[in-house]
């Protein structure tokens, strides 16, 4: 077969240009390190590359979420750990504290409580990455007001001290805890609440009597009343009557009156008179003294604690009308009462944030300042810091002791979530985040390895192919040169 000279050189040219194209591609592979510069060139592995690139991007975004979340969780846990220490300090301090006024009408414990209150507020107003950690979804508002405003209020807004004062007045009334003591007839004593619906003062809860010959009724009626009617047979010495009084904070105190023949009687005793009428008069007088004494101490402490509950409630509760005669609470408005917590109040406090840390894997986290345990710590410190004593009234010691007992008991967190529990919960979240992070990192590294293997050119293979092609190209040039000499025209 004859080959045309033109076809021969065309073939040669296309062969050489083919090799040069391959050479250029190999040079590109060598310099970029990538097998292909287009998805088309990736062949069947393009789906893998697309999926893995997406996965790696997603995982990296999960990682960044985990890092941000971990910082928040860790910071929250650190702050709450300190708050838990404050809680313990106040709790144990309350149990051990004695009534020694040191400065400004307050005991050492109260002064400490004032400082701890400041510290707690600082902790709860922790701002990480321009974001409030304890305000729920209101991340741009400082969640807790400062302690001065909280305790003292300002011209337009009542602070905790005013709320305590009003509540104390409302609960104590004329000094008898809103109880009315009377003698409807000779030999009969009646003890009644002043209002059926009023939340203030003592509430008659139960009466137990061993008084011989006396008829004890109640508490019955509305408002509830207790009646003691002495009969012809007079009580024997040692007979007693106990009245259980429910206090505003839900605790109970018992007044026990014991019959005695001593005159004058000791505290909590009444002298058995000559007849029913005189015994009743003695009984009424002792009951009156006991009620007034209890009102000044236990009731006042319970009232103070309850004022704390009122103030730290949502919305805060205020005494409606003139305190001494008030019979109802009314919700304090942002216009007239300091709102201690300025953050988000929607939903249940705690775990208000959700972090997506993997495909379909989420972690709820976060604590809120109005969460019960946290609020209790702030409230206890604030109540302790708000109360002052004159040091002149002998009953103040008992009142103080009733108060510290109550605050310490609240800080026991018996049967409720404590600050420690919240910290533990956050710690678990932190651990889960760390595990997720490790998993993601492993996954990313695996994916990246596969991606590299798929996308990257093997330098060794490329170099070998390159040198083979170069040899081939040299040979082609050589042959072309030799062939060009091989023309009959050169030999004629």
């Amino acid at each position: 077969m004859q080959i045309s000279t033109y076809a021969q050189s065309l073939t040669m040219r296309s062969n050489v240009s083919n090799i040069q194209t391959q050479l250029a591609d190999l040079q590109r592979q060598l310099s970029t390190g990538l097998k292909s510069d287009s998805f088309a060139g990736l062949g069947s592995s393009r789906n893998l590359v697309l999926a893995l690139n997406d996965q790696v991007s997603q995982s990296n975004s999960y990682l960044s979420t985990i890092d941000t979340t971990s910082l928040r969780v860790q910071s929250s846990a650190d702050a709450l750990t300190r708050l838990d220490q404050i809680s313990s300090e106040l709790q144990t301090g309350g149990l051990a504290s004695t009534f020694n006024l040191t400065s400004g009408g307050q005991t050492d414990l109260q002064t400490t409580a004032g400082m701890r209150l400041n510290e707690a507020i600082d902790l709860l107003n922790l701002n990480v990455g321009d974001r409030q950690l304890f305000g729920g979804k209101q991340t741009q508002t400082t969640p807790v007001v400062n302690s001065d405003l909280m305790l003292n209020g300002d011209t337009a807004h009542a602070g905790l001290k005013q709320v305590i004062s009003e509540r104390n007045q409302a609960d104590l009334g004329d000094g008898r805890g809103r109880l009315l003591l009377s003698s409807p007839s000779a030999g009969t004593v009646s003890l009644a609440e002043d209002d059926a619906t009023s939340p203030f003062g003592f509430k008659l809860s139960n009466v137990a009597s061993t008084l011989t010959g006396a008829t004890v009724s109640g508490p019955t009626g509305s408002p509830a009343a207790v009646g003691v009617s002495f009969g012809a047979t007079l009580p024997s010495p040692g007979d007693s009557l106990s009245v259980d009084l429910k206090l505003p904070d839900g605790t109970t105190t018992t007044l026990k009156l014991t019959a005695t023949t001593d005159s004058p009687p000791a505290a909590g005793q009444f002298t058995i008179g000559a007849d029913a009428a005189s015994t009743a008069t003695n009984f009424q007088s002792t009951l009156d003294t006991s009620i007034q004494a209890s009102a000044k101490t236990t009731l006042k402490a319970a009232s103070t604690v309850q004022a704390g509950n009122d103030f730290f409630g949502n919305p805060p509760q205020r005494v409606s009308g003139s305190p001494a005669t008030a019979t109802a609470l009314v919700a304090g408005t942002p216009d007239n009462t300091v709102q201690w917590y300025q953050g988000d109040t929607t939903g249940t406090p705690g775990n208000n944030f959700v972090a997506t840390v993997g495909d379909g894997s989420t972690i709820a986290y976060g604590a809120r300042a109005d969460q019960s345990a946290i609020r209790t710590v702030v409230q206890s410190a604030a109540v302790l810091a708000a109360v002052t004593y004159t040091g002149t009234d002998s009953s103040e010691g008992a009142e103080y002791s009733a108060l510290t007992q109550r605050t310490s008991s609240a800080l026991n967190f018996t049967g409720t979530q404590s600050v420690k529990d919240i910290v533990t919960d956050l710690g678990l979240k932190s651990a889960t985040l760390a595990t997720s992070k490790t998993n993601l990192q492993t996954q990313i590294s695996t994916s990246q390895t596969i991606l590299d293997n798929t996308q990257n050119a093997d330098q060794y293979t490329v170099a070998t192919q390159l040198s083979t092609l170069m040899t081939q190209l040299q040979a082609s040039y050589q042959v072309t040169a030799s062939l060009s000499k091989l023309s009959l025209a050169n030999f004629l």
Binding site: I3, S38, A40, G41, N47, G136, K137, T139
Partner: protein, 624 residues
């Protein structure tokens, strides 16, 4: 006298040798001319009175295998078509960037998701919100620019068809002119080989543009047909015209009906007859066929994939489901729904069980343009539903009666008040059908107090809500070219967080960003098979990012296939070309060898004349 005839023969030999050398010189001169075929000299023994009186030169001829030539032209046409595919699809693939740069549309959607994830983690961070809006804008402009590039390529194909048609006309004119010359010269017995070369060149040119068949006639002329059998040239060439359109968008498509056609077509004019060559399928190969395929099929498919992606992206973020309420009347019970917030393209999804106990799933699509009714069952991507298109651009009584007519007797449709529609069972007429479920899928335009979704993407500069309207033209057509980020959100990025004004959503609330994220990544959607991905019976289902990845892999795999097909075809074509060139081209060695033969022949003939001269001298010197 014999000596005289010897001189005559020698002279004819000299002439033949000269003609031969002339031909060798022309062969060598054209050795590198494309399309030049090797010419050989035809010689004949010149006979007079029964005896030879020398050699006669019949002229140059060529030796061409016409079967091989036809095959070569067919393969050339095919190569050209595949090269067009490969070139255009390579550019589509190029729009996705390099695999390592992560700049493809799929990567942009991934980036939209990862930045949204940051917003969900830190909703109160303005930087996170801005970054997310940036990636949304980038995605929108990437879709816009890809859409513009695709339409640009279609316009380029249109222009290329116009140029190619002009070229084809020129080629046909050339062939016609050469046909005339060849037939005249052949009739006068003049050599035609060189003219045939020129004509072959013109036909080869034409066969790059479209597949042609030639038939050789006895008078030396050729008749040219298209591959599909349309006559292009007999005695006179037909005229091909192309009504080039100068702009192209997603709604510009070819239609056999000339009034609906929004792109150019090739018309063959033969006297008074006109034939639409695209409609008749006369052109099946060549670069013109390649351009037509790109302009009318392949690129519109790429566009519709981007449109479907843009559409699902917009809908996934904005769609809300409106629940129905229990309704009853006339002893029948069922469900009622308020249709007032429905936009054109929004749907009612009704499930009911008929009297025979068979469950039915019906999708009622709101349209406002009755000309598009009735809708095909493929109007929704869901293969298991019955699609009913209802014109809502009429009084409610009309809507109700249209619905009733479409649903039959198992469902009783009524309009108790306003724009509420009740779908009740047929208990009123003693039947046992039940209405099982009814919801409406709507796309609220409001950014707040309408659910936790968000119309982040809107249609065009006018910020029209995107609801996938099926009115003519369907809103999805070219949506990728128009998709924009809602300017109200760009103006106030807190709209990404605040979904409710009463109670006011706190700025740290991650509800909306988390919902948007889950709509993008977790919610599986069904994609229309019209985009070429998935089928009507088993449509593609998955998240939006998965669909985007599918598009990238679909297009790049098409590109790779086209490139492979083109290079395989190139090899076939090259092999044939080599064989053809080898058979018909000039081999210089051969010509040189021939030159020696001719030189020798010339020398021998000249020597003969010298000898005769000497003989005459000898003869004349006799007797001196």
């Amino acid at each position: 006298m014999a000596l005289y005839s010897a001189v005559g023969s020698a002279l004819s030999g000299l002439n033949a040798a000269q003609a031969g050398i002339d031909l060798v010189s022309r062969n060598i001169a054209n050795a590198g001319t494309p399309g030049y075929t090797r010419k050989t000299l035809l010689l004949d023994n010149q006979v007079a009175a029964g005896g030879s009186i020398g050699v006669s030169v019949l002229g140059a001829t060529r030796n061409v295998d016409s079967f091989l030539q036809q095959q070569l032209r067919t393969e050339t046409a095919s190569t050209q078509k595949l090269n067009v595919y490969s070139d255009f699809l390579g550019r589509v693939d190029g729009m996705f960037g390099t695999p390592d740069s992560n700049t493809s549309v799929a990567a942009s959607i991934t980036s939209l998701e990862t930045t949204l994830q940051s917003v969900a983690t830190t909703p109160d961070d303005p930087a996170a919100r801005q970054t997310f809006l940036n990636s949304a804008s980038n995605l929108a402009s990437q879709l816009n620019s890809m859409s513009a590039k695709i339409q640009g390529m279609r316009l380029e194909a249109e222009q290329n068809i116009a140029t190619s048609v002009q070229q084809a006309n020129t080629d046909l004119q050339t062939v016609a002119g050469l046909n005339d010359q060849i037939s005249q010269r052949q009739a006068s017995n003049y050599p035609v080989a060189d003219l045939q070369d020129l004509r072959d060149n013109a036909i080869n040119d034409l066969s790059k543009l479209m597949d042609v068949k030639t038939v050789q006639n006895d008078d030396g002329t050729v008749t040219v047909f298209t591959g599909g059998g349309q006559l292009l040239l007999d005695k006179t060439p037909v005229k091909l015209t192309f009504d080039e359109h100068t702009s192209m968008d997603a709604n510009s498509s070819y239609n056999i009906d000339a009034s609906q056609r929004k792109v150019g077509t090739i018309t063959l004019q033969n006297g008074t007859t006109q034939v639409d060559l695209i409609a008749s399928g006369a052109i099946t190969s060549g670069s013109i066929a390649g351009y037509i395929q790109m302009r009318d099929t392949t690129l519109p498919q790429a566009q519709s994939q981007l449109d479907e992606l843009a559409s699902q992206l917009a809908l996934s973020l904005s769609q809300e489901t409106v629940p129905s309420t229990a309704a009853s009347g006339g002893g029948a019970t069922g469900l009622g729904i308020d249709t007032s917030s429905m936009l054109s393209g929004n749907q009612l999804n009704l499930s009911y069980t008929d009297d025979a106990g068979v469950s039915h799933k019906v999708t009622v699509v709101k349209v406002t343009d009755p000309s598009v009714l009735p809708l095909a069952s493929t109007a929704t991507a869901d293969p298991n539903d019955t699609v009913i298109g209802i014109n809502f651009n009429q009084p409610m009584s009309g809507v109700v009666s249209d619905l009733q007519a479409a649903l039959g007797t198992n469902v009783v449709v009524s309009n108790p008040s306003g724009s509420t529609i009740n779908f009740l069972n047929d208990a009123g007429s003693g039947g046992t059908s039940t209405i099982d479920a009814l919801t409406a899928t709507v796309t609220p335009a409001s950014l707040t107090d309408a659910g936790t979704g968000l119309p982040l993407f809107v249609d065009g500069q006018s910020q029209k809500a995107y609801s996938g309207s099926l009115d003519n033209p369907p809103q999805v057509n070219g949506f990728a070219g128009r998709i924009q980020v809602n300017s109200a959100i760009l103006a106030d990025d807190t709209k990404l967080i605040v979904y409710s004004t009463s109670p006011a959503t706190a700025i740290g609330d991650d509800m909306r960003p988390r919902d948007l994220l889950s709509r993008l990544t977790d919610t599986s959607r069904t994609y229309s098979a019209a985009s070429g991905i998935g089928s009507t019976t088993t449509p593609f289902q998955g998240s939006v990012d998965a669909f985007a990845r599918r598009i990238v892999s679909f297009q790049s795999s098409q590109s790779a296939n086209a490139t492979n097909a083109a290079s395989a075809q190139q090899i076939v074509s090259n092999t044939l070309q080599d064989k053809f060139n080898g058979d018909t081209g000039v081999n210089i060695d051969d010509e040189m060898a021939n030159l020696i033969v001719l030189q020798n022949s010339y020398a021998a003939n000249a020597r003969l004349i010298t000898t005769v001269q000497q003989l005459f001298d000898t003869l004349l010197s006799i007797g001196k």
